[in-house]
């Protein structure tokens, strides 16, 4: 199959007005990421509040993102769901809509055995026949892990498994999975799902998913350029700032990330319930924390 290269992918927010998806602002979000150096867009991941979007809205947002991107960068569809067949339907829609690749996490809520995880991923990948990235984020997913034998089994049977996105940041797993998988299939890609690009690239990651790119896209770009040239030690200060942003918005979540976006004059509204409305003290706290990020000096305000 044609090999898809992940590169530096931004994860757009989903803007809301009065709780409804705000398509006009969403177009601005997409355009902003493309203008700011995204090599691809992941629509809609947890950063885009995927779990708070009914299937119909997810389809509308994906279609609009693809239309707006207009072939300038690939759009990768996040198709995770609790039920395998529902996720597979999203994958089929993504293919028809023109998505270039898929991201699939372990199912929500359930804690299936490895044999069912393999069936879940194989079904999704096969149904759309698109390059599919496995999303490993145990701390978000009931500690359900995508273990190396699961990856090895999948790449042995499905030509569409393109890589794994790691959010665990666990060196023992990352090195084991990329070493084993790339021996079995040299085009298998490890993608870092957090802003810790230095250690991830050193271990063999070649793709990066940047959840905080709405705040600091130039920081992400510069850090990405440094690690691609293996300038790990020179990237130290950039990594400090990127790690700070990761931890800040890991603490405050997507609702906090939207506060940050608004502080950068890119208002995407509040997050949907059950995420909390953030105002007053929290906004001040996030604004104060952002003053500590040196790299923000060069970032654009507004769209």
């Amino acid at each position: 199959m044609t090999q898809f290269r992940f590169g530096l992918v931004h994860a757009p927010l989903t803007p809301f007005v009065d709780g409804k998806i705000d398509l006009e602002t969403f177009e601005k979000v997409i355009e902003f990421h493309i203008q700011q150096g995204a090599e691809g867009l992941a629509v809609q991941t947890h950063t885009g509040e995927s779990v708070s979007l009914p299937v119909a809205e997810r389809k509308i947002l994906l279609e609009l993102a693809i239309k707006k991107a207009a072939g300038r960068v690939p759009v990768i569809a996040y198709v995770s769901e609790a039920g395998t067949s529902i996720a597979a339907d999203l994958a089929i829609h993504a293919k028809k809509a023109g998505a270039s690749a898929l991201i699939a996490s372990v199912p929500y809520y359930w804690t299936p055995p490895d044999s069912m995880l393999i069936e879940h991923f194989a079904t999704i990948a096969q149904s759309a026949a698109l390059p599919t990235y496995l999303y490993n984020s145990p701390h978000e997913m009931n500690n359900v892990k995508i273990k190396t034998p699961v990856v090895m089994s999948l790449i042995g049977t499905s030509p569409y498994i393109a890589g794994l996105i790691d959010v665990s940041m666990d060196w023992q797993f990352m090195i084991e999975v990329i070493a084993d998988a790339s021996r079995a299939r040299s085009d298998f890609q490890l993608v870092a799902g957090t802003e810790y690009m230095v250690s991830a690239h050193a271990t063999g990651a070649t793709g990066f998913l940047a959840p905080t790119a709405i705040i600091a896209p130039q920081l992400m770009k510069h850090l990405y350029q440094h690690v691609c040239q293996e300038k790990y030690k020179e990237a130290h200060d950039l990594q400090v700032d990127a790690a700070f942003l990761y931890r800040l918005f890991d603490k405050y979540g997507v609702a906090g990330l939207k506060v940050g976006a608004k502080l950068m004059a890119r208002d995407c509204g509040q997050a949907r319930p059950p995420l909390p409305i953030m105002d007053g003290v929290v906004v001040d706290a996030i604004a104060h924390e952002l003053t500590k990020v040196k790299a923000l000096a060069i970032e654009k305000r507004g769209w």
Binding site: W171, M174, I175, Y196, V198, S199, E230, Y232, K233, Q239
Partner: protein, 304 residues
């Protein structure tokens, strides 16, 4: 406190006779082997040295052998953690009197306690014993008990002799967060990966590692550190992938597979004390096949 940690440091296994008693003569050979094959420091007894399966008296006797054998060729630290904190103080006192260059201690075992208790424990250790202190962080084995960046910062403010941390989280976020607060306060502070995960740690600012595989393949671990130091990242990746395979081979029932593997290299160190199993002949054959596939049988020293 001039001790600065750097490079691949070795924590020897503890050789046992067939009756499971400590084999002091072989222990001397083991310590000497590590020093001769490039260890930048020695530290004993880590869990790899079956610390929990030795009596306090045995730990003291073996520590004396280790310190005497190293004979100031490289720095030596003594791991003083024990189930009872009272024993930790006893071991630290002994280490100081016997001439150890540093002590290393993990967060106390078993109990659940607030961060403040970790702070108090390390402040007491670090102020009672006027010698370099290394903290040992192992959240996965201790049910999430760990040094946070903020706690490390407070300890650095209080303890001029806190020179480094052995970090067995093997996690980018945890490792880098502690480093981020520690380095501006103490530029010589050494973040040390618990075993030889040198590629992801050195590129973040880590100073080196302790070692799992050094008793089997010292050349491989030393070459990995040299590749990281010189920025030969492609070579470092190749060597790190090999060591990853070895770590996943050895970590199961650690250190019994490691001890089994040493037989293949002509360095017999005897059985492993219960409740850990001793490697079976089948397990040793499996280890031998892996070592052969990785090219280790031909590129590493055999015998002592």
């Amino acid at each position: 406190m001039s001790l600065v940690l750097k490079g691949v440091m070795q924590s020897p296994i503890t050789p046992l006779k067939d009756d499971f008693s400590p084999d002091l003569a072989t222990f001397e050979k083991m310590v000497d082997f590590h020093v001769r094959t490039g260890a930048t420091a020695i530290s004993w007894p880590h869990h790899k040295g079956e610390s929990h399966n030795l009596t306090i008296a045995e730990r003291k006797a073996l520590a004396e052998v280790a310190i005497k054998t190293v004979n100031k060729r490289v720095p030596i630290s003594i791991h003083v953690s024990a189930l009872a904190v009272e024993d930790t103080y006893e071991l630290a006192r002994h280490a100081q009197q016997t001439g150890a260059d540093a002590i290393i201690a993990i967060t106390p075992y078993f109990w659940k306690y607030p961060l403040e208790s970790i702070y108090n424990h390390f402040v007491k250790l670090g102020t009672t014993f006027d010698m370099p202190l290394i903290a040992y962080n192992s959240p996965d084995y201790l049910d999430g008990v760990e040094f946070t960046a903020e706690l490390t910062q407070r300890l650095l403010e209080k303890l001029p002799n806190l020179i480094g941390m052995k970090d067995a989280s093997f996690n980018s976020e945890r490792f880098f967060e502690i480093l981020r607060v520690a380095l501006p306060m103490r530029p010589d502070f050494a973040m040390i990966a618990g075993v030889e995960y040198l590629l992801p740690s050195v590129c973040l600012g880590g100073k080196g590692s302790y070692s799992s595989a050094g008793a089997i393949c010292p050349n491989l671990v030393n070459n990995l550190f040299a590749a990281c130091e010189s920025g030969n990242w492609a070579l470092a990746r190749e060597l790190q992938y090999k060591l990853s395979q070895l770590w996943h081979l050895f970590r199961d029932q650690y250190p019994s597979s490691l001890k089994g593997g040493m037989q293949i290299m002509g360095r017999n160190v005897g059985p492993t004390r219960a409740p850990l199993p001793t490697a079976s002949p089948e397990r040793i054959k499996h280890i031998e096949n892996t070592l052969a596939a990785l090219g280790i049988l031909d590129s590493e020293p055999h015998g002592w």
